[in-house]
Symmetry: C2
Subunit: 357 residues, 2 copies
DNA sequence: ATGAAAGCGCTAACAG
DNA sequence: CTGTTAGCGCTTTCAT
């Protein structure tokens, strides 16, 4: 069943059917009604592939992620899809699982399906592959690691803001021995977090000397706390480069019978969904996945509209901020001296720390 | 740049280019090589939409889920995509977010993009919508809730097996007061789990009388433990209808200062990824998401091959089984009498309980 | 073994 | 305002 069938039954031309379906205003309401009746009766659905072929636009956005099982992504994908639905787009998701072959394949698949734009959410992508995309003028948006090439949009993350809030929150709770569990050294985003930590500590006169390098996974967090426990003077609070690390730290704390937050304050980074479900719920620096997805989608849409001509900067920014939950409390040493039963007294969903500086 | 461009440059016809690209064996190796050289030089990627239009097969499988943020799905999606890549398919993912409008839209999108098959992983789908798909003979595979219609494949879940293992595991740990936190009563899958619990308890002479109804979310689990705590004689172990519920009871236990597993054994159901990351890691009944995805994909593939003619049953089964982690231990009453430091002595990844009956 | 040509289902000029 | 028609980029008979 195709457009001709509809045309025949409605006794009009295919052009009219096409116009009616696409709600071209100049079509006679009478005819339009007749067409729609037949369409509904037969349950006709236009073949979008054919439409794409002639229009040259597929109305598909590609989304390249590293792994679906990375807890950072579900929220992003969901938001992206919601937006896609609203805008009559489809999404083509692809994962690289950190395999160069798969990355190449991802790019190839995007091109073969003629996507109208692609958001690249994998942390790092080979320069050469991009060429294929850029060569075909496919709108691109990166997060944080965008190459310094004109014509590709980039969403820059402001790590400093959230990390500063986290450090100051801990300091306000009288912690002075604050450790940091860093991420893999080769990750640009992990490095940036670590730098932000150093700056934030220095700003308030604390020395950022307890830094352990982890791996952004649970195991690294566990190992980090073991190392930290061996120190002559142990930290009373630990800030982690991402949530999985924080979860590892909490797990290890549990195993060592250290109660969080009473015996140790823990702060994560990312605010993955899981962070709400840990015991205790994790206080963490939020990098809003919803917001990120929204910006990415909008960036692609913009890129398509302004049609390459506009030479704007195509830079977007996403800021981070602390979300208070229940994994932080007063420094235990201080706590015995006061009557506070944890810092939990006035929990609000967002940090209400005074603006830094 | 299209197939004609390649044909021109390689000085052959478009037909030959097409054949070469599709590796039709009858094409002269000389020519094939010439074609490939040009293809590589120009970085030509065939337009798959055009190909789909003529071949009538899109090589896209649809995947309808309820929400991406449901922790049950990431693993499934990842596996499904891996399989898709292997088989040269693309996947079109759609979420219903439990909204009838979105469900309808999902179906429409699938049809408009002419998917070659769709896996429906949402728990429940309106009969009427399916008609559209079935009418067009789109291969379908359901999980657990497949309608009793011929021509659609269904993956049936064997809940009994895993739940029996869980109950017997708890019984072996000397628990006799085992509670069950059920899921929403309108969910077929939740009902089945609850029944399996009753049967399993009865089988070993325990009476399944502590059943609280939850909601398959964290909150329900928390509420359940509160209720349970008010009972004159409290349970020493609780089996939950899904993992989120179990996480809720663990959270509540933490808040009430009950240590898991020493003070209370907790078992979940599903084995979502998160279950490995809770404190303590959750012992749970696994319903392998990988396996589920594999079966679903294969079912679709089969459906396409045997081309509707075969009147087989198209029923698949996925069994469940217990995964031991660290949220269960001996009944505390018994524990003081023995020297066991928890049942954790001989943990293996899979339950080694004797086969039931 | 290769090429010419007829479509796949739709949209967009162009005419009327 | 509506219909005719020429493609969109590819595959696939059917001749050669």
């Amino acid at each position: 069943m195709d457009i001709r069938e509809i045309a025949r039954r409605a006794k009009v031309s295919t052009a009219t059917v096409s116009r009616a379906i696409n709600r071209v205003p100049t079509v006679d309401p009478q005819l339009a009604k007749r067409v729609w009746r037949v369409v509904d009766e037969l349950g006709y659905y236009p073949n979008i592939q054919a439409r794409a072929l002639v229009s040259g636009r597929s109305r598909i956005f590609g989304l390249i992620v590293s792994e679906f099982t990375n807890p950072f992504f579900p929220e992003i994908v969901q938001t992206f899809e919601n937006l896609a639905v609203e805008n009559n787009y489809e999404i083509l998701i692809t994962s690289t699982v950190n395999d160069p072959k798969r990355m190449e394949l991802s790019v190839r698949r995007m091109i073969e399906r003629r996507v109208d734009g692609v958001a690249i959410l994998t942390f790092g992508m080979e320069e050469g592959l991009l060429e294929h995309l850029r060569y075909r003028k496919v709108p691109l948006v990166f997060v944080d690691v965008g190459p310094d090439v004109r014509g590709v949009a980039n969403i820059r993350i402001n790590y400093q803001n959230g990390i500063r809030q986290a450090v100051q929150h801990l300091a306000a709770l009288r912690h002075t021995r604050i450790a940091f569990v860093a991420g893999p050294p080769h990750l640009k985003s992990a490095l940036a977090r670590r730098e932000a930590f150093k700056i934030s500590m220095t700003e308030i006169g604390l020395s950022p000397d307890m830094i352990i390098v982890g791996d952004h996974r649970l195991e690294g967090g566990m190992r980090a706390l073991i190392e930290l426990s061996r120190l002559p003077v142990r930290p009373t609070a630990v800030l982690c480069s991402n949530d999985m690390t924080a979860i590892g730290v909490m797990r290890q704390a549990y195993d060592q019978n250290i109660r969080v937050p009473e015996g140790l304050s823990v702060v994560g980074f990312d605010d993955i969904r899981l962070a709400e479900f840990t015991t205790p719920p994790l206080t963490t620096v939020q990098m809003s996945q919803k917001e990120l997805a929204r910006i990415a989608f909008q960036a692609l849409l913009n890129e398509i509209e302004c049609d390459s001509s506009s030479h704007e900067r195509h830079e977007y920014e996403l800021t981070t901020s602390l979300v208070l939950r229940r994994s932080t409390a007063l420094d235990p040493a201080e706590r015995s001296a006061t009557s506070a039963k944890g810092a939990g007294g006035s929990r609000s969903r967002n940090a209400s720390a005074p603006p830094p500086r």
